[in-house]
């Protein structure tokens, strides 16, 4: 902390120095009194309270006064060399040199009479560093989207809106629940361990989105926490994605996964403009996979048990299957047709209200907004409410000094269900079970039916999902305030500028969860009955950035901008948690209610971590003849997460742009606005996700032994952990033609990650189970193309069409021996094998080839290559067997799954395992037209797609394995039941057999084309709007996720591999498809 104060003091001292410089200029002179009167130019009425100011050459106010009730003023001015400025709200300001004039009678013109002027000019894009570079001069790969284009979408978070819109940016939802996080990947995964989400920069300052590493209790998970990007979408002006390493390198260690630069709206000089917008949407959960009803289930289970165990099911041991009315308790409680999924599903809605006020005068400008969002999830017990407020203030002291103050506040409450398994438990639950308990007389009671254990097991394997949804919770409460101050000072106008940023980020999060015994049926004495958990984490972050920007004029044909930047970041995070159990009733859901707090795992825990980083950056952009542009930067980073030997890293970047269209010989091609080639090279370093890992930390046990406290080393000291480095190479191509009506952008790239971090598992004889090491080299390579065209542009009609496509593959190039190259076992049901092969893409998986079901005993005889039966030396036909290793075999029976015997040895074993597919899409992207008619009607359609990837249908595995007492999908109605049945679904086999080995049966092509959204928008006619007393208004209707074209039979082909999994098996375990939503929205400006 002291360091920060010192630093801040230095900055102030620095600023003070420069102020003293400018103050010196004001030497006292003879004061001259100036008088006059201000009137309205039209009405000739006096202007009361108008401002009269004396300004120096830098437009800094020296003295000032206001006019009286008659519009008169008198002002003693300090220097006649200054100017006098008259301004009044709603009027155009006027200024005059003072000189020898002492009386000013001025009439001001009302701003309302001014014709609206559209200011055109080259868009200047701040790449975040502080350099102002025209977007046409960018040397790096980036893409920008204006939030205006997305405002019709009903989203609570920006990342949702960006899905499919930007080439090379792959955004996948981790769950459909309100407040759930999204996985954002820019050009694939360049890092496997820790956060793979990009760095988010808001108004020039990094915005922390990661989850504190001390978030460690098993009862909460990342999804329950995600308050990622809690910026109201309506506050955002534009979003830029920096993709190549040369662009992101200037952002340093956290930018290895790309950078999202978000600029919020700011006030402009105008009368106050009040904007109100409303969106309301209805979310409908489509029907899930059809499951067996109670009657079908009751038929399946006895058959399954008989097949698997060789004896009929013992209905005295399992009275659940008795169905005997003389035992009414079991007859009624296990004789229903319950649709468990439907019982925990509801229609959701999303309501968003937002009011913003923007405007300002010559000196001060403002943008203020307040938004309120409430969402009800489609699973019972989930929801989100959020309140956002933002105030962006600009104060222009003079031409030289410009202050801004931005304050953003977010309060959100995310309601969730306890744990993440509720939908899968509902799917697996016996449909014969009743939601509410019947008593021994066969009468239904209002008590939720929750036996502590039954044939399906006990908590956490199963529970009553309705009770959990109604009475359990896992709520997140987040409050975040981010004050951000900047001062911009032109030390030497036109040459040297100082830009100073300081941002405080105060982020408090509280998670509170409760597991009711009424859902689990656990005896009240058990440690996980009525478990109440409270977790509180408070993070405090200070970020400072000092920029010196040099913009020398070095002739007409060349330009140069230079930058020296120093930045520092300090994050402290404190957390406490409390876990108690056995509270008296499910109503007492807070751990502070008297409960048991002594027991294994119960009690209090706390933690404190701090991370610091510093960096220095030197960067420059030079342009010659507007054709040859080069940008060079060198960044030095220091990070407290490394040991002394590897603490600092130096990361260079070079990027160039050659504007072919600027060459004289191209002047004949008038239709080409811009034709450029870009090339870039850059290195970025990535720091590890945890603090203090380079120490051998000694921790205490949470309990005592013999009343004494013990200490143990809790990690392996990482002396050798180095920066993970991403070296990016990019070749880009820009073509703009026909007056910006054709805009084409292509990129080809390769990002090589060396010293890849991986939290590898260790052989446990080393005494630790995992360690974070630099384990290898990973390449991400691919291309991106985006095309925006305006094929039709007439007075009444404008048609725009956008298209983007991207391809990325990741290939492992080197690997440490400490990484296990295989995962999964071909011996186990439901398991696919993955092997890391050098120079091969990740995400490939292997298994058997499924060939249907053996219909009869004779079909189980092994055959050789020619299809002839294999016979043993005695001439007896050999049966096909499944090799369990260790000389043990399982003889395939009629009705069992048939796997291809690749080597024709009669034994299905690891030697018959084949390549089955890869989970990385060949192409991803989106496209869609926008049609504008008469400037008032707008139709926007958007489609997104991913093609050429395979999915392991985990849901199919669990709903057709016929292996447990879990409910199954209706697909099993066509199962094999008697010899001769020809079917694709093997016989039901309780707890036995090898019918659901990882095979091609569950693998399918996941390619899809999704009709993501359609919007019709009507802007109210200007003249009509005026009659209503409003400036402008519009109404729109949007449908989202309308239809998906796919051959995939699972719930939804949009899946993301689990983070931290180097093998990246694409397993789809979703139980419900993403919901469709229909939105209506209104926007009015006053």
């Amino acid at each position: 902390m002291r360091k920060i104060i010192t630093y801040i003091c230095c900055i102030f001292a620095l600023s003070a120095c420069f102020f003293s410089q400018s103050l010196k200029a004001q030497t006292a002179a003879n004061k001259i009194l100036i008088k006059g009167k201000l009137i309205d130019s039209k009405t000739k009425e006096p202007l009361i309270g108008a401002s009269v100011q004396e300004q120096d050459a830098d437009k800094r106010t020296v003295t000032g006064t206001v006019t009286d009730i008659d519009g008169n003023f008198a002002l003693p001015v300090k220097s006649t060399a200054n100017k006098i400025v008259f301004s009044y709200i709603g009027y155009t300001a006027q200024s005059f040199p003072i000189g020898s004039t002492t009386v000013f009678n001025v009439s001001l013109v009302s701003a309302r009479e001014l014709v609206q002027v559209n200011i055109t000019g080259q868009v200047q894009r701040d790449n975040g560093t502080g350099l102002k570079i025209d977007s046409r001069d960018l040397t790096t790969a980036s893409a920008t989207i204006q939030m205006k284009d997305l405002e019709e979408l009903a989203v609570t978070s920006v990342d949702q809106a960006l899905q499919g819109r930007l080439p090379g940016v792959d955004i996948v939802a981790s769950s459909g629940d309100p407040g759930a996080g999204m996985s954002i990947k820019i050009r694939g995964t360049s890092t496997i361990n820790g956060a793979s989400n990009p760095l988010v920069v808001v108004d020039g300052v990094p915005f922390e989105t990661s989850i504190p590493t001390d978030f460690n209790f098993a009862t909460a998970d990342e999804q329950g926490y995600a308050s990622l990007l809690s910026i109201a979408p309506s506050d955002i002006k534009d979003i830029t994605v920096l993709k190549d390493a040369a662009a992101t390198a200037v952002w340093g260690s956290r930018a290895a996964n790309g950078v999202l630069i978000i600029n919020t709206k700011r006030g402009v000089q105008s009368a106050p403009v009040l904007t109100y917008s409303f969106t309301g949407s209805l979310d409908i959960q489509p029907t899930a996979i059809p499951l067996l009803n109670g009657n079908q289930y009751s038929e399946l289970i006895p058959e399954e048990y008989q097949n698997g165990q060789g004896v009929p099911i013992n209905i005295y041991k399992y009275p659940e299957f008795q169905h005997d009315i003389s035992n009414p308790f079991y007859y009624y409680n296990y004789g229903q047709n319950t649709d468990w999924l439907a019982a925990i599903t509801q229609n959701g809605y999303l309501l968003q209200n937002n009011i913003s006020l923007t405007g300002g005068g010559e000196k001060a400008r403002y943008f203020a907004s307040v938004g309120y969002t409430s969402q009800l999830g489609t699973t019972v017990g989930t929801g989100l409410t959020r309140l956002n407020a933002r105030l962006n203030l600009d104060y222009i002291v003079s031409n030289k000094i410009h202050f801004t103050t931005d304050i953003a506040y977010t309060h959100s409450v995310t309601q969730g269900d306890y744990g993440t398994t509720i939908r899968s438990v509902a799917q697996n639950k016996m449909p014969t079970m009743s939601i509410y308990q019947y008593n021994t007389l066969g009468q239904q009671t209002p008590v939720l039916f929750t036996p502590s254990s039954n044939v399906q097991g006990q908590y956490p394997g199963t529970y009553n999902p309705v009770a959990l949804a109604q009475q359990g919770n896992n709520n997140g409460y987040a409050d975040r305030i981010t004050p951000h101050f900047t001062v911009n000072y032109q030390i030497v106008p036109g040459l040297l500028t100082l830009h100073e940023d300081i941002q405080f980020d105060i982020n408090t999060n509280r998670v509170s969860s409760f597991l009711p015994a009424s859902a689990t049926g656990l005896a009240s004495t058990l440690l996980n009955a009525n478990t109440a958990y409270e977790f509180d984490t408070d993070a405090f972050d200070v970020y400072t950035k000092t920029n010196f920007i040099i913009t020398p004029k070095i002739g007409e044909k060349q330009t140069f901008q230079g930058l020296i930047q120093l930045s520092s970041d300090d994050t402290k995070s404190v957390n406490q948690s409390l876990l108690t159990a056995n509270s008296a009733t499910a109503i007492l859901q807070d751990p502070s209610a008297q409960g048991l707090d002594v027991g294994t795992g119960l009690g209090v825990a706390s933690g404190l971590t701090e991370t610091r980083s510093v960096s220095a950056l030197v960067s420059g952009q030079y342009s010659l003849l507007d054709r040859y542009i080069i940008n060079i930067s060198l960044r030095g980073d220091g990070n407290s997460r490394f040991g002394p030997a590897h603490r600092y890293g130096i990361f260079p970047a070079v990027s160039t742009r050659y504007r072919l269209s600027g060459e004289p010989f191209m002047s004949g091609f008038k239709f080409i606005n811009d034709l450029s080639v870009r090339a870039s090279y850059g290195v970025i370093g990535n720091a590890p996700a945890t603090d203090y890992s380079f120490y051998n930390n000694y921790s205490g046990y949470t309990y005592t032994y013999l009343g004494q406290t013990g200490v143990y080393p809790s990690n392996i000291e990482l002396d050798n952990l180095r920066w993970e480095k991403v070296t990016g190479k990019n070749l880009g191509f820009n073509l703009i033609m026909f007056n910006n009506r054709v805009n084409f952008d292509a990129e080809i790239y390769r990002n090589t990650t060396t010293d890849l971090f991986f939290n590898t598992n260790l052989p446990s004889n080393l005494g630790f189970s995992t360690v974070n090491l630099n384990v290898g080299t990973l390449d991400n390579q691919g291309f991106e193309i985006s095309l925006n065209v305006t094929p039709l542009k007439t007075k009444n009609w404008i048609i725009d069409f956008a298209f983007n496509i991207a391809h990325n593959e990741n290939v492992i190039r080197a690997l440490s021996p400490y990484v296990s190259v295989t995962t999964g076992s071909p011996l186990a049901n439901g398991s696919y094998e993955s092997t890391l092969l050098l120079n091969n893409p990740l995400g490939s998986f292997y298994g058997y080839v499924y060939q249907g079901v053996y219909p009869t005993q004779s079909s189980t005889i092994a055959t050789d290559k020619n299809g002839n039966q294999i016979k043993d030396p005695n001439g007896v036909p050999v049966q096909t067997v499944f090799g369990l290793g260790n000389g043990k075999y399982y003889n395939f029976q009629p009705g069992d799954a048939k796997y291809q015997d690749v080597n024709h040895d009669g034994i299905i074993d690891a030697r018959d395992v084949q390549y089955l597919g890869n989970g990385n899409p060949q192409f991803t992207g989106g496209f869609g037209p926008t049609v504008t008619f008469m400037r008032n009607w707008k139709l926007n359609l958007f489609f997104s797609y991913r093609t050429g990837f395979d999915i392991i249908n985990g849901t199919e595995i669990s709903t057709t394995n016929e292996y447990t007492f879990n409910n199954q999908s209706t697909a099993v109605l066509s199962r094999w039941e008697k010899p001769g049945d020809i079917t694709q679904i093997p016989r039901a086999l309780y707890g036995a057999g090898y019918n659901w080995l990882g095979s091609s049966r569950y693998v399918s092509d996941g390619s899809y084309l999704r009709f993501s959204s359609a919007t019709v928008r009507y802007n109210l006619n200007q003249t009509f709007a005026k009659k209503l007393g409003i400036k402008s208004a519009s109404v729109y209707v949007t449908g989202q996720n309308l239809y998906t074209w796919t051959h995939y039979l699972g719930q939804d082909p949009e899946i993301s591999p689990r983070a931290g999994d180097i093998y990246q098996q694409p397993i789809d375990s979703s139980t419900t498809p993403p919901f469709k939503s229909y939105t209506i929205g209104l926007t009015g400006t006053f």
Partner: protein, 512 residues
């Protein structure tokens, strides 16, 4: 003027930078300490040694179907390794785990979660840490004496030897690591070390430790919960017996017997509470000290409490066959019978029952100590060794001592007949039979059977197969008989992820 400004800004930038970056970036963890700050005085040394013991009871109780590495308490592992493959345990169907059932049926694959050894190696690493860094403390803390230091080291050596002894008895050949994994420079991919080499190493460690360990800490609980010289002798006796070194075994046993510090607790109405409920009895030599007041409960409630779907229960033959009923007087019972299990539910009373009552413990009160060695076992160790060294009568006397204490019920036809004193095999089998009753559900049975079966393999194999066939379903009997013809089958396979992660490990050939 510009020059001046540039000059000033350079000055200030230098000033800012000179707030030394390195110092700014050096942060220390605030909750906990680091190795460089540790190992400074004898108090820290002691807490590191206590940490070794605390790791023996680390982990969470069995709470569900997902068993993850390192999550299992060591006592659960030791119980299952010592009992599942033997003849005293069965599974109630409702709460059983597939992997448990597979082990019982002898259908063990390298993917079975029970073959994970992480919790033992975690403790070994802590012992290794103490052994490497403790000697450095003496030069920093002058109040630490060499004798104290040696005693602490002896504790670490002994716990490490105990862990390795469990490992070699369970897996045969295992990797042997004698140095700690403290930094990433210490990472190695170890090969398997032959069982004999490991046993040689731990015997030599134990003889070092024996000379340095204390006889007593002055507090009863410490004497039972930490390593004393008698713990070392008990472990030595067990290892010598495993290697069929009977003379050394008897010597080690005599050291304990002659110390006069131990005696059998009377087999009266207080026997259950004295030895098991309360623990740390005068009979006890070494116990894992679970303690309810310190938040660490043992895993047994969740494993055995049948009403909530516990996963394991007593085999039906335990009552009536192993503990026969006196046909003349049903009230005349072996005191150990009711302690072993509840005749009705099969709940294992030794771990979750309460003395003289059918009530059971609750999750919160389930903190009985895991008994590693007690005096009764020393007597039976000695008896077993004596059987093979021509002192059969003395051996039978020792067995009788145990039987008398427990009021053993001898029912002709059900109980084993008393062998002739000069029949080594007969006497030793008689000892084994008594061990079954005395240490039932204390994680000993399987290792006893293996020890007897290995002695003169394959002649002695029926000693192992005969009892386990009682438990096996008829369909599996022939398979089990064939399987155990291979002596490697007596050991468990190495868990498959260990092999994936450490290419130098060699799988037990029986499981290849």
């Amino acid at each position: 003027m510009h020059k001046k400004i540039i000059y000033r800004s350079v000055l200030i930038v230098t000033l800012v930078l000179s707030c030394s970056c390195n110092k700014y970036l050096t942060l220390y963890p605030q909750n906990g300490t680091i190795r460089q700050q540790f190992w400074q005085n004898k108090e820290q040394l002691q807490s590191a040694v206590i940490g070794v013991y605390a790791s023996l009871i680390q982990g969470v109780p069995d709470g569900g179907t997902s068993k993850t590495q390192g999550n299992l308490q060591m006592a659960e592992t030791l119980f299952k390794w010592g009992e599942l493959r033997a003849d005293n345990i069965t599974t109630p169907l409702a709460g059983s785990y597939v992997d448990d059932v597979n082990v019982m049926n002898g259908n063990i694959l390298p993917t079975n979660y029970l073959v994970q050894w992480y919790s033992l190696y975690r403790t070994i690493n802590l012992c290794n840490t103490v052994l490497l860094y403790a000697p450095g403390v003496i030069s920093i803390d002058p109040t630490l004496t060499q004798t104290q230091l040696n005693a602490y080291m002896a504790e670490a050596l002994t716990v490490r030897a105990l862990m390795y002894f469990y490992l070699v008895r369970t897996f045969g050949d295992v990797p042997m690591k004698l140095t700690p994994t403290s930094t990433d420079n210490d990472l190695v991919l170890l090969p398997t070390t032959p069982q004999a080499t490991i046993i040689k190493q731990i015997l030599s460690d134990l003889s070092t430790a024996e000379g340095n360990a204390v006889y007593t800490y002055g507090v009863v609980a410490y004497d039972k919960g930490r390593v004393t010289r008698y713990t070392i002798n008990a472990l030595q006796a067990d290892i010598y017996l495993w290697t069929y070194d009977y003379t050394d075994c008897i010597t080690a046993c005599n050291k304990i017997i002659n110390s006069g510090q131990f005696g059998l607790v009377a087999g009266d109405g207080n026997f259950f509470s004295t030895v098991y409920s309360n623990g740390n009895s005068s009979e006890s030599i070494f116990e894992f000290q679970y303690d309810g007041s310190t938040t660490q409960t043992n895993p047994f409630y969740q494993m055995f409490y049948t009403n909530t779907g516990g996963s394991l229960a007593a085999q039906i033959n335990v009552q009536g066959s192993l503990f026969p009923v006196d046909p003349n007087n049903p009230k005349n019972v072996d005191v150990r019978a009711a302690i072993a299990s509840n005749g009705g539910t099969g709940a294992i009373s030794k771990w979750i029952g309460t003395p003289n009552s059918t009530a059971t413990l609750t999750a919160a009160t389930s903190y009985r100590h895991w008994i590693v060695y007690r005096y009764a076992e020393i007597l039976l160790f000695k008896a077993e060794a004596e059987a093979f060294t021509g002192q059969g009568q003395d051996a039978l006397n020792l067995v009788q001592q145990i039987q008398t204490r427990a009021n053993a019920i001898i029912v002709p036809g059900t109980s084993l007949t008393l062998p002739a004193a000069n029949d080594p095999v007969g006497v030793s089998n008689y000892v084994l039979d008594e061990r079954d009753r005395e240490f039932i559900f204390e994680g000993k049975r399987w290792y006893d059977l293996v020890r007897y079966a290995r002695r003169n393999f394959p002649t002695t194999l029926p000693i192992l197969t005969a009892p386990i066939l009682v438990n096996a379903s008829p369909a599996l009997q022939q398979i089990i008989l064939t399987k155990y013809q291979d002596p490697n089958s007596l050991y468990l396979p190495i868990y498959y992820t260990e092999l994936q992660l450490d290419p130098n490990l060699i799988q037990n050939p029986f499981y290849k």
